[in-house]
Amino acid sequence: MAGVGSRLGGLGPLRAAVRVVAALGLTAAVLGLLLYYSPGREYAAESMSGFGLGATGGATGGTVTGPGQFVWQYLGKLLRGDFGFSSTFQSPVRTLVAERAAATGGQLFCAAGVLSVAVCVLTLAGLWRGWLRGWIGAAAMVLQSVPSALFAIPIALAEGPPFLAIALAALPRTLRVLDAVLERQQGAAHLAWMRAMGCGWWTMTWHGQIRAAGRELFEGAASMVPLLLGSLLAVEIVVGFPGLGTLAWRGVYGRDLPLLGAVTLLFSALTSLSSALAQRER
């Protein structure tokens, strides 16, 4: 955790934590309001223990009178770990999310690994030969214009693992972000100095470019987490992988707001944490 703390740099661990909590609070408040104004709010409220709707809801006995109070009670329930009951799966939301999060986490971890290897190989190839960099950049630009879900089709046809499609979908944008970071290094004075000193290609690449841009590269990689999560949702749904993406998708068709709310909160925590990590001092 010390490493993460120091990486937060100018933002500071305390401000980063406040930002993550604020993002979660905002998401939860939006969820509470959607729940209050949804047709199925009586069911959603009933599924959380001791949560009455009273005069406005008319369901369970008289404690909540307006949206503000409803949202406040909803936040309180979430803080106590009560995410409600899924009408689609007839199971507590907390259990469902915990089960599926493990499978999704495994895919996400493997995708991040494959993505890192692919990015390293392609970036080094681009730094090695200029014309290769041009071709890789052009291919990345075209592939970036393809919706993530389409990358899952060849993987599904070949019965390959979903993490390959997730990595493939996130690869073009990641390459372009990291390429932009390294391009800024190209004109740096220290590189001209290293060249004049007769440093070899590897020394210049490793010490002059990659290590010099280490922090920016880390920030660029951290900003890719929301992209990876978005790709994960789309790929899981197309491939039919039993993870959080499929859970959320079935939740939409079942109008299962408590289930969708729990998945949204989990993803919101991950994206806001990665966003805090990617923040630079302003």
Binding site: R15, V18, R19, A22, A23, L26, T27, V30, L31, L34, Y37, S38, P39, M141, V142, S145, V146, P147, S148, A149, L150, I153, P226, L229, G230, L233, A234, I237, V238, A248, W249, G251, V252, R255, D256, L257, L260, G261, V263, T264, F267, S268, T271, S272, S274, S275, A276, Q279, R282
Partner: protein
């Protein structure tokens, strides 16, 4: 290159007008047929001509994305200008609030709104809700850029001179700030349009975009997910690539191209 890209976009937008009107009708004699002289890209399971359907979907998605990008850029301009008028204390609150808003998982927020929408909502209303949602999620980056630009412009010597000459806030905005903000708004519009187009296509592929009865690019792309999809059914992907790459080419500064040549 930029002219060619603009021409391609115009062609895509005017697509349905360029094909014969008879293709709009269902041909029950040719269900899921291969490309023929009458149906250049074959037909779907209801006997509808694929070429006409794809071009209509393209026009619908492109116009929806453009409208959503205009709304998002407009909200961003207004919000950015108001943010730039806040003091240090105001920015200390609103800056992180914008960060927080931008870090929310937009995919799932769209899922939530879709689940929340009543079952009797019509396809047109669903289309409007979807593009409004995408516009509402895209205003934050323009707002941030415009706020920074306005703060910088306010510190320019000519701005101080204009203020000292007794120019009011509205006049300052119209005469001095607006001409500087138009290029910024244009860039944001050109960046947001392909992003919204891609978002609509992705949601359509998952069955959560524009309903099939109001054809869009996303719903046309679902042909590729059907078992036994045929190669000509990849045409919507080609249309999407053309639109997104054309928009990216137009949004590139002229200096970028001259540098490359």
């Amino acid at each position: 290159m930029r002219r060619l890209a603009s021409l391609l976009l115009l062609l895509l937008a005017a697509g349905p007008l360029l094909v014969p009107e008879r293709l709009a009708e269902e041909d029950r004699e040719a269900v899921r047929s291969a490309p023929t002289g009458e149906h250049p890209l074959g037909t779907d399971a209801l006997g509808r001509d694929n070429l006409y359907r794809y071009l209509r979907g393209m026009r619908m998605s492109l116009s929806g994305a453009c409208a959503a990008a205009v709304v998002a850029t407009g909200i961003g301009l207004l919000a950015g200008f108001l943010l730039s008028r806040l003091g240090r204390a105001g920015m200390a609150f609103w800056g992180p609030a914008l960060d927080t808003f931008q870090s929310m998982p937009w995919y799932l927020l769209v899922f939530l709104v879709r689940a929340w929408t009543p079952l009797d909502t019509g396809p047109e209303q669903l289309t409007v809700i979807l593009f409004t949602m995408l516009a509402a999620l895209g205003w934050a980056p323009p707002a941030r850029t415009v706020a920074a630009a306005c703060r910088q412009l306010r510190q320019e010597p000519w701005a101080a001179f204009a203020r000292a000459s007794g120019m009011g806030g509205a006049q300052m905005f119209r005469r001095h700030y607006w001409p500087h903000l138009v290029p910024l708004a244009r860039v944001h519009f050109l960046m947001l349009t392909p992003a919204i187009l891609l978002a609509e296509s992705s949601l359509g592929l998952l069955g959560l975009g524009v309903p099939d009865s109001a054809p869009s690019l996303g719903s046309s792309l679902t042909d590729l997910l059907q078992p036994g999809a045929r190669w000509w059914e990849a045409a919507p992907l080609l249309l999407l690539l053309t639109a997104v790459l054309s928009l990216q080419t137009i949004s590139r500064r002229p200096t970028d191209e001259s540098k490359r040549t």
